[in-house]
C-alpha cells in the first residue's frame, strides 16, 4: 500500500504534488477554453454563417491525436506545461462552442421577448437571461471537457515527463511495478469523478429553478 502513495524519487514530486500538478494541467485549459468559448459562441449565435466554418476548423483540430499535437508543439514551446495545455484548451473549445450555442439558442423566444419588453439591453439580457438559461447545456459540455482533459494530461508523459500522474506510468513500465500504474489510473479516475461531481453541484447552485 505504501508504494501506492510513495512516489519514486526520479519524479521529484510527492503524491499530492503530482495530484496538484495534474489538476493544474487539466483545469487551466478548461477555464481558458470556457473564457474563449463564451464570446466565440455568442458571435456564432449572432452571425449564423460563422457557425459552420468554425465547427469545421475546430473539428479538424479535434481530430489531431493529443500525442501528435504535443509533439508538434515541442518545436515552438519546448517540453513545458504550455505544450500540454494548448491542445487541451483547443479540445475544450471544440466541446464547449456547440454546447454554448445550443444552450443560448434553446432560450425560448418568449423569454427573450419578455426580457426585451422589460427594458433589458442586449448586454444585460445576455448576462441575466441567456447565459443563466444556458447553464445546464454549458455545464454538460464542461463535464465532458473536464473529464477528457484530466484523462489526456497523462499522455503528456510521452513527451518527456510532462504528464503529471501519467509520469507514474513510465516508471511503472521501467521498474516493472504495476502498483504505480494502478496508482496513476485510480487517482486520475477518482479526480475526474470528483470534479464531475463538483460541476453537477455547481449546476444545481446556479439553476435553483430547475426541476430536481
Amino acid at each position: 500500500m505504501s508504494s501506492f502513495f510513495t512516489m519514486p524519487s526520479d519524479l521529484q514530486h510527492s503524491y499530492l504534488g503530482l495530484v496538484a500538478w495534474h489538476l493544474q494541467l487539466a483545469m487551466i485549459p478548461v477555464l481558458l477554453g470556457l473564457l474563449i468559448a463564451l464570446p466565440f459562441g455568442q458571435l456564432c449565435v449572432r452571425f449564423r454563417w460563422l457557425y459552420a466554418p468554425m465547427l469545421g476548423v475546430t473539428t479538424v483540430l479535434y481530430a489531431i491525436p493529443s500525442l501528435a499535437f504535443f509533439v508538434v508543439l515541442i518545436d515552438w514551446t519546448g517540453q513545458s506545461d504550455t505544450t500540454v495545455m494548448i491542445p487541451l484548451t483547443i479540445y475544450t473549445l471544440v466541446i464547449l462552442i456547440p454546447a454554448i450555442i445550443d444552450g443560448v439558442r434553446s432560450v425560448p423566444p418568449e423569454t427573450h421577448a419578455a426580457a426585451t419588453a422589460m427594458g433589458f439591453g442586449p448586454a444585460r439580457r445576455y448576462f441575466q437571461v441567456d447565459l443563466p438559461m444556458a447553464v445546464p447545456a454549458i455545464v454538460a459540455g464542461l463535464r465532458v471537457a473536464t473529464v477528457s482533459s484530466i484523462s489526456l494530461v497523462s499522455v503528456g508523459a510521452l513527451i518527456g515527463n510532462q504528464g503529471a500522474l501519467g509520469n507514474l506510468l513510465e516508471d511503472a513500465t521501467q521498474y516493472h511495478r504495476p502498483i504505480l500504474a494502478w496508482s496513476s489510473v485510480i487517482t486520475t479516475a477518482v479526480l475526474a469523478i470528483l470534479i464531475d461531481g463538483l460541476l453537477v453541484l455547481l449546476r444545481r447552485l446556479l439553476t435553483p429553478w430547475a426541476a430536481r
Binding site: 489531431i64 500525442l67 509533439v71 508538434v72 473529464v147 484523462s151 504495476p178 500504474a181 479516475a189
Partner: protein
C-alpha cells in the same frame, strides 16, 4: 513554414510508401483497430442505450456508468493492462472500447427517449408491439442522433488508437511514437496528418451514412 516542410519530407520519402512500415500498411492497421473497437463498443452500447431509452428506466444508472467509463484514462489503462497481461490486443482494445461506449450509450438513450411521444402513442394505438414500436418508429426517428453518437465515438477511437504504438502495436501511431524517439519531426507531423485525415474521412463517411439511411421525412423535420 516549418510544418509544411515536415509534411513535404514525410510524403516525399518513397520509403514511407511500401513495406511493413509503409503508409498503406499502417493505415490499414489503424482502420482495423478502429473498426474492431467501434464494433465491440456498438455491440455493448447500442442495445443497452436503445432498450433503456425505450423503457425510459435506468437513465440515472446509465449516466453514472457513462461518467465512470469516461473517467478512465485511456493511456493509463493501456499501460496498466499491458503490465498486467503482457503485450496483446486486449490491453489495446479495452481503453478504446471504454472511450467509445459512453457517447454511443448516452446519445442512443437520449435519442430514443426524445422521440416524439405522440408518434409512439400513435404506433401503439395502431396495435404495434414494443419491439415494432422500437424498430419501426423510435429508431428511425432517433437515427440522426444515434449516428452522431457513433460518429463521435469513431472519431475519438481514430485519434486515440495512436497510443497503441506505445505498447509496440502498429497503426498510424507508429510514426508518431517512433518519430518522437528518433527525433524525426517529419515522421511525427506526417503521422499526425494521416490520423487527422482519417478522422475527417470518418466524419464524411457518417455524413454519407446519414444521407442514405435517415428517412427523408425525418431529415426534413430537422
Amino acid at each position: 513554414m516549418n510544418l509544411f516542410h515536415y509534411i513535404g519530407v514525410f510524403y516525399g520519402d518513397s520509403a514511407n510508401w511500401s513495406g511493413a512500415n509503409g503508409i498503406p500498411q499502417r493505415l490499414w492497421e489503424h482502420v482495423l483497430y478502429t473498426l474492431m473497437a467501434l464494433g465491440i463498443a456498438a455491440a455493448i452500447g447500442l442495445p443497452i442505450g436503445l432498450v433503456t431509452g425505450h423503457t425510459g428506466r435506468g437513465g440515472n444508472a446509465l449516466a453514472f456508468l457513462a461518467t465512470a467509463a469516461r473517467a478512465l484514462p485511456s493511456f493509463g489503462l493501456l499501460v496498466l493492462l499491458t503490465l498486467l497481461m503482457g503485450l496483446g490486443l486486449t490491453p489495446v482494445m479495452v481503453p478504446l472500447v471504454a472511450l467509445a461506449v459512453p457517447p454511443i450509450l448516452v446519445t442512443s438513450y437520449e435519442a430514443v427517449r426524445g422521440a416524439d411521444r405522440s408518434l409512439v402513442d400513435a404506433a401503439r394505438g395502431m396495435g404495434m408491439g414494443p419491439l415494432r414500436v422500437l424498430f419501426q418508429v423510435e429508431i428511425p426517428v432517433a437515427l440522426p442522433l444515434i449516428l452522431s453518437g457513433i460518429r463521435s465515438a469513431a472519431v475519438q477511437i481514430v485519434s486515440t488508437a495512436t497510443i497503441a504504438a506505445y505498447v509496440s502495436f502498429g497503426g498510424l501511431g507508429r510514426y508518431i511514437v517512433d518519430g518522437l524517439y528518433q527525433e524525426d519531426y517529419s515522421k511525427v507531423v506526417g503521422g499526425a496528418t494521416l490520423v487527422a485525415g482519417l478522422a475527417l474521412l470518418t466524419l464524411g463517411l457518417f455524413w454519407l451514412l446519414a444521407r442514405v439511411f435517415v428517412s427523408p421525412g425525418v431529415r426534413r423535420s430537422r
